[in-house]
């Protein structure tokens, strides 16, 4: 198949499927439509990858009429935002939409003078392929998961009239838009896709139509509009300063004049990636159905933000902007990891962890060395797989248990063994070394450590944040693993469980085969962006100039260390003894003790959140102000240069 066809398939197939979804009210019909469509999408992505990776970047410029269509659609969306602002009486949305409505024509017709030909409009290099694979594979799996999830979700809500058509419309549409976004080289096209993702995001957050959902959707909207404004301003400045709105030209131009637009684009990326102080929209987005959280808010859409920052990284290498981006990202990584310690709602923990990991990717972009960029790209992949899967597992658990409180997930292993094992592997893969996320963390710390000067701050933030990560995952993970044996049958919806298990095996498999992954995907992406190779991969080891990482040996050792005892413990058949309760256990039910007046009292073992130290009330204002200061410093540093 030709490259053009594949690209248009990747972008337009989801759009077409989405429109079809509008007509389908029946769950079975949805499955019939979506399953082949999603498989096709995955195949297309793979085919494109097979074409691009060996042959180098693939460029594509659609007919000029499409430029006009895109321009018109920009204004349609803008009008819709204005309409939302007016009807919802939300000053921020309205205000920002108005600013955008003024700024966009000014930039488009004033600065750009109507029409600027960009060549190529789509530039598909290895980095775009990495993103495309993530979107098409992980995204498609999540769509399939949603076909199981949404009927149950609606059954739970007891809706009179199904709203699944709308849901799947926005949901599937998003995949195509996202593919377009990562392929786009023209900033105007990028802006268009960017706006559509914002729109999808808005609709999906408010899907449940509760007051909270509407409010949070509006918050997401205005925060994303901040990014849009910054982007439009950036486009104008870029054209003004450098005379181009092609990303490739901007990045490779090496002109100091483009630093300000690049900083503005970074700001746009930060808003999309929900970096502090914009993290509240992502937290609020957790009211949406879980597939939305899994798809938009962890594995793909928020990645658009960091993708942009990463994509532009060569443009600001070795500048103070780079350092400030690194410090900002590391700071966000640290502070959101600390904030996650104080959370007891599972989805909020996942959300904070997502923000933290995005911060880490931003930080990698800022460190801006071969190793750091490699770490950033690796993180995009590993995080998407693990976090998407964790969201899905938590969503199933929420549906089956009826709670998203970590407290209620205590002892899940006894009730939902398969789900728990999947979740535990997912968490371990987020947390510990032989797995990819931690590997990327290792690479990031080594990369940051290898820089001197102000990067000491980056390393410090990373070290603290990495310890905080350990704490909030561990205290959740450990609690799930044991509990009173309850004889319940674990319902296992095929697609939901199937996709979860696929992603689990993906997380483990990719981590084991990290060396070929680096050779095949990440090193080409690096060279596509103009960086050198980060690793010496000879002998299946990953050797950097100063560090050494033997994935296979580690995997063997850790697998032996974790799996063998687990197997042995399964074989322990003897009756379990009661726990230590100062000698006043009550016979029979677990965890009851004799308390006041000789009456039995149930011992509870709630988790620790240390909210007086890590609670939102204490940390959020602090982190928001600090992040704001860093952002101002970031922009000021660029302007004052």
């Amino acid at each position: 198949m030709s490259g053009e066809l594949l690209v248009s398939l990747l972008v337009l197939l989801p759009v077409a499927v989405a429109v079809c979804c509008l007509a389908l009210r029946n769950a079975a019909a949805q499955k019939v439509l979506l399953l082949p469509a999603m498989v096709l999408l995955m195949v297309a992505a793979a085919a494109l990858a097979l074409r691009v990776l060996p042959e180098g970047p693939f460029a594509l410029t659609p007919a000029a009429v499409w430029d006009n269509i895109v321009a018109v659609l920009d204004y349609v969306i803008l009008a819709y935002f204005l309409y939302i602002g007016v009807t919802s009486r939300n000053g921020l949305v309205l205000g920002l939409a108005v600013v955008l409505a003024v700024l966009l024509p000014v930039v488009q017709f004033g600065v750009l003078g109507g029409h600027v030909a960009v060549s190529p409009v789509f530039h598909i290099d290895a980095l775009a392929i990495v993103m495309c694979l993530v979107i098409s594979v992980v995204g498609s799996l999540i769509v399939l998961y949603a076909t199981d999830y949404m009927p149950a979700h609606e059954a739970h809500l007891k809706l009179e009239r199904t709203r699944q058509p709308q849901f799947f419309f926005w949901f599937v549409l998003f995949l195509g838009v996202m593919n377009g976004l990562v392929f786009a080289n023209s900033l105007l096209w990028l802006f268009f896709f960017w706006e559509v993702t914002t729109l999808c995001c808005y609709h999906l957050i408010r899907h449940n139509l509760t007051d909270e959902a509407r409010e949070n959707a509006l918050r997401a909207l205005w925060m994303n509009l901040v990014g849009s404004v910054a982007m439009v301003a950036g486009i104008g400045l870029a054209y003004n300063n450098a005379g181009t709105i092609s990303i490739q030209e901007l990045v490779t131009g090496g002109s100091a004049l483009v630093l300000l637009p690049l900083a503005l684009f970074c700001l746009t990326g930060f808003t999309k990636a929900a970096q502090a102080p914009f993290q509240s929209w992502l937290l609020g987005a957790m009211v949406a159905p879980t597939p939305v959280s899994a798809l938009l808010h962890s594995s793909t859409m928020v990645k658009a933000g960091v993708y942009l920052v990463l994509r532009l990284a060569p443009g600001y290498a070795d500048t103070s902007l780079s350092l400030l981006v690194a410090i900002f990202g590391a700071f966000v990584f640290m502070v959101t990891s600390l904030l996650a310690i104080g959370q007891n709602i599972s989805k909020r923990v996942l959300a904070y962890s997502t923000i933290a990991n995005l911060g880490l990717i931003v930080c990698c972009a800022g460190i801006n060395t071969d190793l750091a960029i490699a770490a950033g790209i690796a993180l995009i992949i590993f995080h998407a797989v693990s976090k998407g899967m964790l969201f899905m597992a938590v969503g199933v658990a929420e549906q089956q248990i009826g709670s998203r409180d970590i407290e209620d997930l205590d002892g899940l292993a006894a009730r939902r063994p398969v789900l728990t094992i999947a979740a535990v592997i997912g968490m371990l893969s987020m947390l510990f070394l032989p797995f990819g996320v931690a590997f990327a963390k290792w690479a990031a710390i080594e990369a940051a450590g290898a820089q001197a000067g102000w990067f000491i701050a980056v390393v410090t933030f990373l070290a603290v944040g990495s310890a905080a990560t350990l704490v909030f995952w561990s205290k959740w993970l450990g609690r799930m693993l044991s509990g009173p044996v309850v004889e319940t049958k674990e319902p296992k919806p095929f697609l939901a469980y199937g996709t979860i298990l696929l992603l689990v095996s993906g997380a483990v498999g990719l981590s084991i085969f990290v060396t070929p992954l680096i050779t095949v995907l990440i090193q080409p992406a690096l060279s596509g962006m103009g960086y050198d190779q980060a690793f010496d991969v000879a002998g299946w080891h990953l050797r950097t100039t100063f560090g050494f990482f033997p994935p296979w040996a580690l995997f063997l050792a850790v697998a032996a260390a974790v799996l063998l005892p687990a197997l042995a413990a399964r074989g322990y058949r003897k009756e379990l003894d009661p726990v230590y309760l100062c000698g006043v256990n009550v016979d029979g039910p677990e965890l009851w003790f004799t308390g006041i007046a000789g009456e039995p009292v149930q011992a509870t073992t709630g988790g620790a959140y240390w909210t007086q130290l890590f609670g939102e009330a204490r940390l959020t204002p602090l982190s928001n102000w600090s992040a704001l200061v860093l952002l101002v410093a970031l922009l000021a540093g660029v302007i004052l240069r």
Binding site: I596, A597, G598, E599
Partner: protein
């Protein structure tokens, strides 16, 4: 030098109804609860309340009551009395009501212990096992 012998006649004797009022008065003068002593003078109980004035002086108050009469708890006025009231209820079966912390006659004794151990004359049926 402290006077060890107690002159019985010198103490005011009141009924359970008047107790709370007296205690409130004492409390307003800054007195605090020291202890209470229950005596099983069959067929009545005599309960001696000891209060301490901000000086070292002790004020005694005696309550005479029939065994099935109800005695209001003073723990709402002086929380320090709550343990002793529970103990007296447990040891003698004195019906003390409105306790701030109710140990349900299981403060010191277990259900297998001898109930109301300090009663001189044991009531025959029912009244054993002070628990509610």
């Amino acid at each position: 030098m402290q006077q060890v012998r107690v002159d019985r006649g010198a103490d005011p004797v009141i009924s359970p109804d008047a107790l709370l009022k007296e205690v409130e008065l004492l409390a307003s003068e800054g007195a605090r609860f020291t202890t209470m002593i229950c005596l099983d003078l069959d067929p009545e109980f005599e309960i001696i309340y000891l209060f301490q004035k901000p000086t070292l002086d002790v004020v005694r108050l005696r309550v005479r009551m029939a065994k099935d009469e109800e005695l209001p708890s003073i723990s709402s006025i002086l929380l320090g009395a709550v343990l002793m009231e529970n103990e007296i209820r447990e040891f003698f079966g004195v019906k003390i009501i409105n306790l701030a912390i109710d140990f349900k006659c299981r403060m010191l004794l277990s259900e297998k212990s001898l109930q109301m151990p300090l009663l001189k004359v044991r009531p025959k049926p029912k009244l054993t096992g002070g628990g509610e």
